[in-house]
């Protein structure tokens, strides 16, 4: 790579100029900007925030939320407390405790799911790594709190948001997820139904299984 | 008379401070105060033009020059205690007190000056101008020559000083292009001993 002979002068400095011409040109530019700021939208891009809000793109991500199906946040929570997000989270702002029944058996749902949003850096890796379509990035942004510690530590009740909310927030992504989940759930239902039918036909004593849903761990 | 009675103690106090105070900047500022108060007195007795010129030249130029020199030479912070050097004190007083006595003596003997001479009315600017360019024209010319000489002289002094410091000289820029001389500047820049401020 060698300098070529292709010599090009930059816009123009004339060999002779009257002192002050360059400054006057600059003043013309500023004057143009000032006048055009009154009638050209590209010049005056200010959005007066609390009254008007700039549109948020569907991709915008802020802090994570947990998605649940149906009406009940407790019952419909997709999260299985697998702690993948907890381990992958770069600033380690997620804290999960698995809920167990009296026998110590995993109930596959979180007893505690905390996200410290004062630590979270909105990277979205938790949403990316989640295999259960449970955690997504929220678009909510007015989150300032008087209480710096407890106010910014989001618990499960604060984090859980319905699938409808997700659908409203990011229709495309949520639509894909919903379609995929529907297929999966249908398949699972079919498998389950087949299994149930088989069990029924075996007609042996099979305890009536609650048809909640079982996600593969 | 009232003005004088009010102002003269202030003038003397300020002058005393200018002579006595240890920190040079205080002394310079009190000199400025002395000159300002004197100018106020001039204004009070009707010598408006002189008073304003005194303000402009002494406060605006001379005091500023002195203060600026103190800043440049960074002697603004050193205290200079006359009182700590008794010998100097004694010699100084020994030399100045006789002068003061002689002056006061001659003033006290000058009682036979025309007493209470008709107070000169405040002069007008036109009067002053006329006098300046007729009666005193040679003096004006002389002062003009003097001031020109001073301006050139001061400029030459300053210029000589400028040339002696390497600061932003054209040669500095051209020297940069002679690479071999400065190939060492990477190591050179770390050569300085640590300064107290570096910690």
């Amino acid at each position: 790579m060698e300098p070529s002979a292709d010599i090009k002068r930059l816009p123009a400095p004339a060999r002779w100029s009257i002192p002050g011409i360059g400054l006057l040109k600059g003043m013309v530019v500023t004057a143009q900007n000032m006048i055009q700021s009154y009638y050209r939208k590209e010049r005056m891009t200010t959005v007066q925030y609390p009254e008007e809000r700039a549109p948020i793109s569907p991709n915008f991500r802020n802090f994570p939320f947990l998605c649940y199906d149906g009406e009940d946040p407790k019952a419909g929570l997709r999260c299985t407390a697998c702690t993948i997000c907890e381990t992958e989270c770069p600033p380690q702002c997620i804290y999960i405790v698995l809920e167990r029944d009296a026998n110590g058996k995993s109930l596959k749902r979180p007893k505690v799911f905390d996200i410290d949003v004062s630590v979270c850096m909105n990277c979205g890796i938790c949403a990316e790594v989640c295999p259960f379509d449970s955690i997504y990035m929220d678009g909510e942004y007015e989150l300032s709190k008087q209480d710096r510690f407890n106010g910014l530590l989001f618990h499960l009740d604060r984090l859980a948001k319905s699938a409808d909310y997700h659908m409203k927030l990011r229709p495309k992504e949520a639509g894909e997820v919903a379609a995929r989940r529907k297929v999966e759930v249908d398949k699972k239902r079919a498998v389950q139904a087949a299994k149930d039918a088989k069990a029924q036909t075996d007609k042996d004593m099979a305890k009536p299984e609650p048809t909640t849903k079982g996600e593969p761990a | 008379m009232t003005a004088l009675l009010i102002l003269s103690p202030l003038i003397l106090l300020a002058a005393l401070g200018a002579v006595w105070l240890a920190r040079p900047v205080h002394a310079a500022l009190l000199l400025a105060l002395t000159l300002v108060l004197t100018a106020v007195y001039y204004l009070a007795i009707g010598a408006d033009f002189i008073g304003l010129v005194q303000l402009m030249v002494y406060v605006g130029a001379v005091a500023m020059l002195i203060v600026f020199s103190l800043l440049i030479t960074r002697s603004g912070d050193e205290a200079e205690e006359i009182a700590r050097r008794p010998l100097v004190m004694v010699v100084g007083l020994a030399c100045t007190l006789p002068v003061l006595l002689v002056l006061l003596h001659s003033i006290s003997r000058a009682g036979n000056l025309p007493p209470g001479a008709a107070e000169s009315p405040a002069f007008s600017l036109a009067q002053l101008g006329t006098a300046l360019f007729t009666t005193h024209a040679p003096a004006v010319l002389t002062v003009a020559v003097l001031l020109t000489a001073v301006m050139i002289g001061a400029a030459l002094f300053a210029r000589g000083a400028h040339a002696s410091s390497v600061h932003r000289d054209a040669s500095c820029v051209t020297e940069f292009s002679s690479a071999p001389r400065h190939a060492s500047c990477l190591t050179e820049s770390t050569r300085k001993p640590p300064t107290p401020n570096d910690s």
Binding site: P3, L10, G22, P58, N59 | S165, L186, E188, K192
Partner: protein
């Protein structure tokens, strides 16, 4: 170590012997309006002339490299955004390239195009903001800065639409990008690229002939080529001095070989050249953007086998570099076969460019220090890491 003092740069400036107590020790920073962050320079002044200058780094040290050695490869990606936060996407790219080299991952063509587009947009952002910042350092009351930020905002809006965040993009993935371009995004970029030329014209009209700017920058802060090369300076600073070194040309990466663009070179390497080189580079970036947008192929935006979780590159070592807007940005990774890098090291252009600041500033005014610092174009997030 010390050569003949008579020939050394510093002693030439210090020619009149100066007592140390006559000098003024000023600490520029860490809280100072124009140190571009928490950076500190211990300046020793004779009058207003700099006789010594010692940069003090580390006020923004965040232990990034060590943290990265304790987390998975992917978890370091969002941290690279925070290195040079003016241009996060080129940091993403450099890191992604290093990991791809380490693991031998192929990148689909479309992803390469997306990366080039983003990197060149980032270059536009950086150089535009640079012009504003340096004018601010010179004391222009923010007009140029505001114009620059106005245009930068437009690009940031596009980034937000694509990556979900304006600055902290976290967009590149090993083997591609995180998501595909949204509908109509490339059309918006085309429109922006078309409008950027007139904006650059306006900025050049505003700045190029400005007599005060000329007198502040001409012959200020230049160093001989050899010193710059020995000091490891890269990027526009080096090219302003006339050294044809641009990694996009000398060690082409990605798909830069397919594009037709040129590398502008200055002659003296003073602050004025540094400004002008950046303006010329922006024009070349626009050319690249035009070509890339025209040729943007369809296809996958990420390698189908790219792993997100449990990513374990084979044992080995890789160094990958790109031509970041500020210079050569490189990542050196050593893998021990686990999910975490054994060694993670960044070559930050801001930091290395900053190391020669004393040599550039000696013998100049305090006001020049600020301009020179501005012309180096540092971001403290990258300097201190």
């Amino acid at each position: 170590m010390i050569s003949d003092p008579a020939t050394s740069l510093t002693s030439a400036v210090l020619a009149p012997a100066v007592d140390d107590d006559q000098l003024l020790h000023v600490s520029l920073g860490p809280q100072h309006p124009s140190t571009h962050g928490v950076f500190r320079m211990n300046v020793v002044l004779d009058g207003e002339t700099v006789v010594r200058l010692k940069p003090v780094f580390g006020y923004l040290h965040r232990n990034h490299e060590k943290i990265a050695e304790g987390t998975s490869y992917l978890a370091s990606m969002p941290y690279t955004d925070r290195l040079d936060y003016i241009c996060p996407l080129s940091n993403n790219w450099a890191y992604a390239r290093a990991v791809e080299k380490l693991a031998g991952i192929e990148v689909p063509e479309r992803a390469e195009f997306i990366r080039v587009i983003l990197a060149e947009l980032t270059r536009l952002i950086n150089h535009t903001a640079f012009a504003g910042f340096i004018l601010g350092d010179m004391g222009a009351w923010g007009s140029a800065l505001m114009y620059a930020f106005r245009e930068r905002e437009k690009i940031l809006d596009l980034f937000e639409e694509l990556t979900g965040a304006r600055m902290m993009a976290n967009f590149m993935r090993f083997g591609g990008c995180r998501n595909d371009l949204p509908d109509g995004w490339s059309a918006k970029v085309s429109k922006l690229v078309d409008e950027y030329g007139p904006f650059l014209d306006e900025m050049e009209k505003f700045l190029v002939g400005n007599e005060i700017l000329l007198s502040r920058t001409l012959n200020v802060g230049s160093l001989p080529k050899e010193v710059l090369i020995n000091g490891g300076i890269t990027g526009p600073m080096l090219r302003a001095a006339g050294v044809p070194y641009d990694i996009r040309k000398v060690d082409p990466y990605g798909i830069y070989e397919r594009f037709d663009f040129r590398i502008p070179l200055g002659a003296t390497g003073d602050c004025y050249d540094r400004i002008m080189i950046r303006f010329l580079e922006m024009r070349e970036s626009l050319k690249i953007l035009h070509q890339a947008l025209d040729q943007l192929p369809d296809g996958s935006f990420i390698h189908p086998k790219a792993k997100i979780r449990n990513f374990k590159p084979p044992l080995g070592e890789a160094y990958a570099r790109i031509e970041g807007p500020k210079g050569e940005l490189g990542f050196h990774l050593i893998s021990d076969g686990s999910t975490r890098p054994y060694r993670y090291r960044i070559r930050p252009p801001s930091f290395i460019n900053l190391t020669l600041i004393e040599d550039m500033c000696l013998g100049l005014d305090l006001a020049d220090v600020v301009v020179i610092l501005g012309s180096i174009d540092i971001v403290l997030g990258e300097v201190d890491r």
